[in-house]
């Protein structure tokens, strides 16, 4: 897309907001991987690198009071929904100052203030739960929208099916975003899935389904916007399949033997964030200096968040027993 003006593109502000989200994700991810590789921090890390454009694509359409549900590979979604960097980093590092006091961890980031409602580690399980947020909005008569994110592999699990059907039957304001990165752990989608396009599955529920190039920020923005607008207007759910690529294997440390080297190399060479950056500059939407400054600011904010997290204490040991139940009287239960 580098040197073409796109008539379907949104206004400049939106273009830059998308870039900002993408960059925040990319820079955060790079920092995580660097610190992990250098041994400064230790955690199970699922890189979202390569998938930035998708969450940025819905991110700029959502209001703070819209709901998002995501998965273990969720950093990009957390950031796109506005989870603050400090608390996010602190939670990833298991600190008392984290979004969840260090008790949930990266697989369970929750930040209702930003509308990031549930992060689950169980493949597909967020889908039925997202319907509950949609139902709440429907019953309350608000026009809040719920976006639920999951992978291609998740489309083969029972919860996906039950959730999609219920959303269709109840016409819930939920957008189902399948981030198709072509792999579920070590297994290519073609080996596990009866269809070539996950969006084909929407017809099984009488739901609109659409596939978009998730590496094309503008196309993604457009498709997300349509689906979100339909949900907001009471038109019911949509399944959006955004096709992309996972740059770094299932989790950090993955030997990636199962990903053809050329395939990975080609995907990384076509890095959608880098490509988008070039396009923005080439087409006069932003100057190089402007973007560089934005990146610097983001880097500074990440520096700050990292420092905040590293300087934060682990939770008190007594926290082991709190938050199991709402009743204080039931806490402190021993082994």
């Amino acid at each position: 897309m580098a040197d073409v003006q796109r008539p379907d593109a949104p206004d400049r502000d939106t273009l830059l907001r998308m870039f900002e989200i993408q960059s925040r994700i990319k820079l955060c991810d790079e920092r995580f991987r660097m610190m992990l590789m250098s041994g400064q921090i230790q955690l199970i890390y699922y890189s979202p690198r390569g998938q930035e454009c998708i969450s940025a694509g819905w991110g700029v359409h959502l209001r703070p009071d819209d709901y998002v549900v995501t998965i273990y590979r969720g950093l990009h979604d957390h950031l796109a929904k506005g989870v603050p960097l400090r608390e996010l980093w602190a939670e990833f590092l298991g600190r008392a100052t984290g979004t969840c006091k260090g008790k949930g961890g990266p697989m369970h980031i929750t930040h209702p203030a930003s509308g990031l409602m549930v992060t689950t580690g169980i493949v597909g399980a967020g889908i039925p739960i997202a319907n509950g947020f949609g139902l709440a909005a429907q019953l309350n008569g608000t026009d809040q929208v719920t976006v639920v994110n999951f992978g291609d592999g998740a489309s083969n699990i029972g919860a996906f099916h039950e959730g999609m059907n219920l959303a269709a039957v109840w016409k819930l304001p939920v957008v189902f975003v399948c981030q198709n990165n072509l792999y579920g752990e070590h297994t290519p989608m073609s080996m596990s899935t009866g269809v070539d396009y996950i969006s084909e599955r929407a017809a099984a529920y009488g739901m609109p389904g659409v596939t978009v190039d998730g590496n094309d920020p503008i196309a993604t923005w457009k498709v997300m916007g349509e689906a979100i607008a339909r949900a907001r207007a009471g038109g019911g759910p949509t399944l959006v399949e955004a096709r992309t690529y996972r740059f770094f294997g299932h989790l950090m440390g993955d030997a990636m033997e199962y990903m053809p080297k050329e395939e990975r190399k080609a995907a990384m060479a076509a890095d959608p964030v880098v490509r988008y950056r070039v396009w923005l500059v080439d087409n006069g939407h932003a100057s190089e200096a402007q973007l560089a400054e934005m990146e610097e600011q983001l880097t500074a904010a990440i520096d700050d968040a990292v420092e905040f997290a590293l300087n934060s204490p682990q939770p008190e040991l007594s926290e082991l027993y709190t938050d199991v139940f709402g009743d204080v009287a039931m806490e402190g239960t021993t082994r």
Partner: protein, 331 residues
């Protein structure tokens, strides 16, 4: 406000939902076949969809994961859903939503999101439903920190505990033994209005000095029957009805057993790794030196539930089994 009336269990449960829905428009029901014209396969939700409309009494597809998931999301968003899982064995098709999500979300979010929902489910052998429609599986929830569990034995408790469950801020598994729904044997006084029964407070159904019988749900009646029989032999039984299992009333149980020095725990669920094992362990841990005999367990056989009526009856703990267990505490 609290004039007592004789009611059947199913009606008392229905009344609790009716009152809760009247009190708070954040309460809604969802489940298979719960709406009119049929009003639920056991008619427990009869009339409610007519009164409150299809938005608040929601028929669902046969999709238990979707049912529990929708309840969880709505609960986090401020509602108080009451989800029905028609028969308790079907918990197995949606257990992930129950144990990995409903139960853990408060904890995993560091207390930010809460899941005030109720899972009502009917359970129990005795109807000739066979191995996949007859189980009591409360142990699964008890072993899943974050879930509360209630198992009422009387219509008044069924109503009062359900009201408490609906307005509690944690997820509650609410177990209804289907044999009790419409059977007059289990009818009882039920106070009118919003009368709640607190969680974690056992009821002493009969006072006694020699041995404490601890149970919940329908088996409480078997304990009372055993106590009657044993009284003839001069054995005085105290009968404790736990009413809720998470939390359970350790204080009442320990106080009683400290007095009698003997205990028998009774439930319908499979004995092995059932809640009776937890009760027995706790009592020994607390009162070892004061016990005259080992705590005895009476539970379902360590088998699937068989179909033939004679075998099914033999699967379920009998009054005679309780009497025998009491005798073992005296030998």
């Amino acid at each position: 406000m609290s004039e007592p009336r004789i009611m059947l269990t199913a009606m008392a449960i229905n009344e609790a939902m009716d009152i809760a829905m009247g009190l708070d428009d954040k309460v809604f029901l969802l489940g298979e076949d719960i709406a009119e014209p049929s009003g639920g396969v056991y008619k427990v939700t009869n009339g409610l969809s007519t009164k409150y409309g299809a938005q608040r009494v929601r028929k669902t597809p046969i999709s238990e994961q979707a049912i529990i998931g929708a309840a969880i999301g709505a609960a986090i968003a401020g509602f108080r859903p009451v989800a029905e899982i028609m028969i308790m064995d079907f918990l197995a098709v949606c257990l992930d939503q129950v144990t990995n999500h409903a139960a853990k979300i408060r904890y995993m979010s560091g207390g930010q999101t809460t899941v005030p929902m109720v899972i009502r489910t009917s359970a129990g052998a005795g109807r000739g439903f066979g191995a996949q429609h007859s189980e009591l599986l409360e142990a699964f929830a008890i072993h899943s920190p974050g879930m509360k569990v209630a198992v009422p034995s009387t219509p008044a408790d069924a109503k009062g505990l359900l009201l408490t469950a609906i307005f509690d801020d944690d997820p509650v598994l609410f177990v209804e033994q289907m044999m009790m729904y419409w059977d007059k044997t289990y009818a009882g006084d039920v106070p009118e209005g919003d009368v709640r029964v607190p969680f974690g407070k056992a009821a002493i159904r009969r006072e006694g000095a020699d041995v404490t019988l601890i149970s919940y749900g329908r088996q409480m009646y078997d304990c009372l029957a055993a106590a009657e029989l044993l009284a003839v032999d001069g054995v005085s039984c105290e009968v404790i009805d736990l009413r809720t299992l998470v939390p359970w009333d350790e204080q009442a149980v320990m106080a009683s057993v400290a007095g009698t020095s003997r205990a028998v725990v009774v439930h319908e669920a499979v004995t092995r790794c059932g809640f009776g094992a937890e009760l027995s362990s706790r009592i020994h841990e607390e009162l070892f030196g004061q016990l005259s005999a080992a705590v005895q367990r009476v539970g379902g056989a360590n088998t699937p539930v068989p179909y033939a009526s004679n075998l099914e009856a033999a699967f379920v703990p009998q009054v005679a089994d309780i009497v025998a267990a009491v005798k073992r505490t005296n030998s």
